[in-house]
């Protein structure tokens, strides 16, 4: 089956999730990826939305993280004080899914503003739960389009800090490939590319001298099952370019 890079991004993001994990999910691609994972290789995956719905199992893709569908299918619905203070902050949620308008070589993220804060070119939505997700979850999965506008040498605003305490890891899934940090290094490293994408092409779209793994793998294309389930979810996430 043919597929586009937006679909592959979602599939690759879904593959980061394991069956015994809990994941804090936002709307858009994170929801698609998490629900795809739960419908394929990770049926016991615990989906948590920051609206307070714990172990949600939606039949359709939610437009908002507070959709009635999420509350109705959850094991438990808790208040915002509970979700942020009792669940997120102590690190009880394994994986956090984030997006961003800009990322730097360390994996720090900007979702606040493009341009100067007081004279913005583009005012973005802001922090939401991202700063605490970034610091509290053991694993962070970031999805964003890969370009020199998004992979920048210096963020216009640091909204969320990648954990630099030697704990936790980050996986960045773009429409060109996969970058990772881990306990050993505090800099993103290109570890895989999408089919047909060369390392040079990724470097061209990255605003700093890219660190490249010794053996860059090629990302496996979506399986027939992955594509079928993904497409059955409806309301496809936007293509990223």
């Amino acid at each position: 089956m043919s597929f586009d890079s937006a679909e592959l991004m979602t599939v690759v993001a879904a593959r980061q999730l394991q069956n015994d994990q809990s994941v804090l999910v936002g709307v858009g691609r994170p929801s698609h990826a998490a629900i795809l994972a739960k419908r394929t290789h990770a049926p016991d995956l615990v989906l948590i939305y920051e609206s307070g719905t714990i172990d949600a199992d939606p039949d359709s893709i939610p437009l908002s993280i507070g959709d009635p569908e999420l509350a109705a299918t959850s094991t438990s619905v808790v208040s915002l004080p509970d979700i942020f203070n009792y669940w997120l902050q102590p690190g009880r949620i394994d994986v956090g899914f984030l997006g961003a308008a800009q990322i730097d070589r360390h994996g720090n993220l900007n979702t606040t503003v493009i341009g100067e804060y007081d004279h913005p070119r583009v005012r973005l939505p802001g922090a939401g739960g991202a700063p605490e997700i970034a610091r509290s979850c053991q694993e962070i999965v970031v999805t964003l389009p890969h370009s020199a506008r998004t992979f920048v040498p210096e963020l216009d605003f640091t909204t969320s800090l990648c954990r630099s305490d030697g704990e936790g890891s980050m996986v960045v899934v773009t429409d060109l490939g996969v970058l990772e940090t881990s306990d050993q290094h505090d800099e993103l490293e290109l570890t895989a590319t999408f089919p047909g994408i060369g390392v040079g092409e990724v470097q061209d779209q990255t605003g700093w001298e890219l660190k490249v793994a010794g053996d860059v793998a090629e990302v496996a294309p979506p399986t027939a099952e992955e594509l079928e389930v993904l497409r059955s979810l409806g309301s496809k996430p936007k293509a990223v370019r």
Binding site: P125, G126, L161
Partner: protein, 267 residues
């Protein structure tokens, strides 16, 4: 108390006001009543400004915004908010921005009668330059943590499913931070779907006693286009349409004219 009278008497120009409700039970009818009454110079407090504050900002009610996430969920930007921040239209908008966890803990501190709350977060980000954030040191471990000041709005407005005739209120479904928002405020107004003789505790029900509530207004559908768990459904189409309406000042102006022409429709 009719909504017109409640907003008229409880919300003053220049107030700090929180219309709370996280993704659910957003008190749209009350916000639109504030627009109709031409309230001015408000400090709008809310974790997720959402369409309700996009409307109030576009209508010129706001002087300042205290918030943590200013997007149209699942759709994109809040264009009236952006127009105010990027182009000072219809007026400049001062911003104070936090993370969700920061805002939640500010409400908790307010509800608890404490001047501040402690959390892990903010450190190393650029948020402290545009927030009120401080530091405290743990007297036992020496660890340095972030502190955020209590929120104490002049008025909090929420929407709930039910009130009884004594004015006790019950809400259920996603509970958000509404209890804390009411308890942190000097005054509070609750719009409800239904007035009942006696409240029956529901699964997930949160009850706020009458003596912490200044006014209850009976406003069925008062959360539309948001929703009221068990009563109304979320109008996802309107959330998408708002992207178009709000994108241009002209289309927004027409929407605003229709809204203010409808004055007196609510009760």
């Amino acid at each position: 108390m009719p909504l017109e009278e409640a907003i008229g008497s409880l919300l003053n120009d220049g107030d700090s006001v929180a219309f709370e409700g996280f993704t659910h039970l957003i008190p749209f009818a009350a916000g639109q009543e504030a627009i109709r009454q031409g309230k001015k110079d408000l400090e709008l407090v809310r974790m997720t400004p959402d369409l309700i504050y996009d409307q109030m900002i576009g209508a010129g009610c706001a002087r300042r915004l205290v918030f943590s996430y200013g997007g149209n969920p699942g759709v994109g930007s809040l264009h009236r908010l952006r127009d105010a921040v990027e182009n000072q239209w219809p007026a400049p908008l001062e911003l104070e921005e936090h993370s969700h966890a920061g805002m939640v803990n500010r409400y908790i501190a307010g509800a608890s009668g404490l001047p501040f709350a402690v959390l892990r977060g903010y450190a190393g980000t650029d948020l402290p330059d545009h927030s009120e954030v401080g530091e405290v040191t743990c007297p036992f471990t020496g660890e340095v943590l972030s502190a955020v000041p209590a929120l104490r709005p002049d008025l909090t407005v929420i929407h709930a499913q039910q009130a009884d005739r004594q004015g006790n209120v019950q809400l259920w479904g996603i509970p958000g931070v509404q209890k804390e928002a009411v308890l942190s405020a000097a005054r509070s107004l609750v719009t409800v779907e239904e007035i009942v003789d006696e409240l029956t505790l529901q699964p997930g029900g949160v009850i706020i006693p009458s003596w912490e509530i200044d006014a209850v207004s009976h406003v069925p559908n008062g959360a539309q286009p948001s929703y009221t768990h068990g009563y109304t459904t979320r109008d996802n189409d309107f959330y998408r349409e708002w992207d178009e309406i709000s994108r241009s000042r002209e289309a927004f102006g027409e929407w605003l004219d229709r809204l203010t022409a409808g004055e007196g429709d609510e009760s």
